[in-house]
Symmetry: C2
Subunit: 311 residues, 2 copies
């Protein structure tokens, strides 16, 4: 049987899964990313877990498995170089050459990209975007990420860093962004941006207790400030999505991530705004859809899916 | 010898050229588009001119020529269908199936796209974008068009209508656009948008006498209102270009069209704004460049270049 490894490298934790050809995660392991400051021991321990999963699955299958390769979704992951480039939220610093390090343990293909690109490709290989040639994925979380598929291929661009729509400037001279500029989409529709909008409306201080999940719960209880927050966020995200259509005329835009779990309080104003801001020649050609992958599987599946990419 | 035909179909005139393999327009003809209300006689007369050019070139070459095909750049030209779809600025109405009509006269490949896409592909095959895999072309004129090349291929999207960055909403709830929405890039950086900005600064009415060319000349004479106009336009276009980089991380953004002829009064603030608005991870990876094709050749060369497109 053929399997692949998907690695979701986050700042705090690393999730590793053994994925079957039809997209089931048959084995799973976890390790603490933030416990490491060097790539060498991190990869050594990761490959130990990979060996464990492979052995366990071989016992279950009763035969040696065929490991297609290792796909990694990581912050600042660069598809072309196979390296993680100076990710600010990792404790392992510098340019990390995963391919070189991994192949000390196992001679397999290693493919790496950033987490939003991996999520988009996971949707394409295992989720709701199967069979689509043109779509865009927006991931809402601490930040806002995106992955863009054109003609059935992830857009990596000339540097490998294409698809950063979270840093599209939505409102010129708008909110200050962590990137140093102003008005980025991320400052409005990330979890943090949503909290900021709520607090501005409420006239209160931003505190760690106020989360986008809390604002989601309040909206479902009918809280008018919370409902208004999601209306504003939906309008802003709808505008950003309508703008992205002028680029690649996708047949769908997918949405995933924590804040999207609120559902209709976000989706209703989002769809209305998307229709309002969409250039008329695209009317009816592009739908907004939720990711069809499970939230706790998408990162591993997406990372594993990177191995299916065709040049 | 191998040649191709490039057809630049404008609302008023149609320019037709016979193009050699190395990108020289060796024969040229012109016919008045607006004199026609039906596709049938328009194509008949066009093919008559094609025959003329082919015969003349065969006399010069002393041998039969190999005609690769006919490429057409046209408003609302759809690459997938090969049709012009209800272009508002054409006197020939409806959905125009050029391929079918042309092949009544000559059995050759016919490829069609919109004019900005053709310009981008012309730059790729014959101009400054040769060898580039990722770039974007912005065309400033009556409107603002764009053509996007990703992985060496024009982005057509799911409908054939990708690459309409002139209708990216730059300033939410900004200027009213002819498309019915507000704040599109085109309302600020088209010839008309530039005139509007100048008149707003000057506090005068928009009249047909005030043109972007006039405002260009005034800028070169040191007129402060004209100089300020170009600064504003450069800032707006620089923002739009920086935003487009977050999509496809191109190695260059090309610029062409009437208003760009002003040169430094536009280009200096444009480059400054682009640097200011560019996400730091792209710093130094993308340059702004003027089209290297002659203004009166780009449309024909671009149309002919469409025949070089690989699936």
């Amino acid at each position: 049987m053929k399997y692949s490894i998907g690695v979701d490298m986050g700042g705090t934790n690393t999730d590793i899964g053994l994925v079957s050809e039809n997209g089931n995660i048959v084995q799973r392991r976890n390790m603490p990313t933030s416990a490491y400051t060097e790539l060498d021991p991190y990869v050594r321990d990761m490959m130990h877990l990979v060996d464990e999963m492979v052995k366990e699955q071989e016992m279950l299958d009763g035969e040696a498995i065929n490991l297609e390769g290792i796909g990694i979704g990581a912050p600042n992951g660069n598809y072309y170089t196979g390296c993680v480039d100076n990710a600010p939220n990792l404790t392992i610093k510098g340019v990390l050459d995963f391919g070189k390090e991994i192949r000390k343990y196992r001679m397999v293909p290693v493919v790496l990209s950033n987490d939003a690109n991996a999520a988009a490709y996971g949707e394409y290989v295992y989720g709701g975007a199967r069979g689509m040639k043109h779509f865009i994925m927006f991931t809402l979380g601490t930040g806002v990420g995106s992955g863009i598929v054109v003609d059935g291929k992830l857009v990596h661009g000339s540097t490998g860093a294409a698809g950063e729509l979270g840093h599209n400037i939505l409102i010129p001279h708008g909110r200050k962004c962590s990137c140093g500029r102003e008005g980025c989409l991320e400052t409005y529709t990330s979890a943090r941006g949503i909290v900021q909008t709520y607090c501005e409306l409420k006239g209160c201080e931003v505190t760690p207790e106020i989360t986008s999940m809390m604002i989601g719960n309040l909206a479902h209880e009918g809280d008018p400030t919370a409902l208004r927050t999601w209306e504003i966020v939906g309008d802003q995200l709808g505008l950003a999505m309508a703008n992205s259509v002028t680029f690649s005329a996708p047949e769908a835009i997918f949405l995933m991530g924590g804040p999207t779990k609120v559902g209709e309080p976000l989706l209703k104003p989002l769809r209305a705004a998307f229709d309002k801001y969409l250039l008329n020649i695209y009317a009816g050609t592009c739908s907004i859809r939720m990711s069809e992958l499970h939230a706790n599987e998408v990162a591993i599946l997406g990372a594993a899916a990177l191995l299916k990419m065709k040049e």
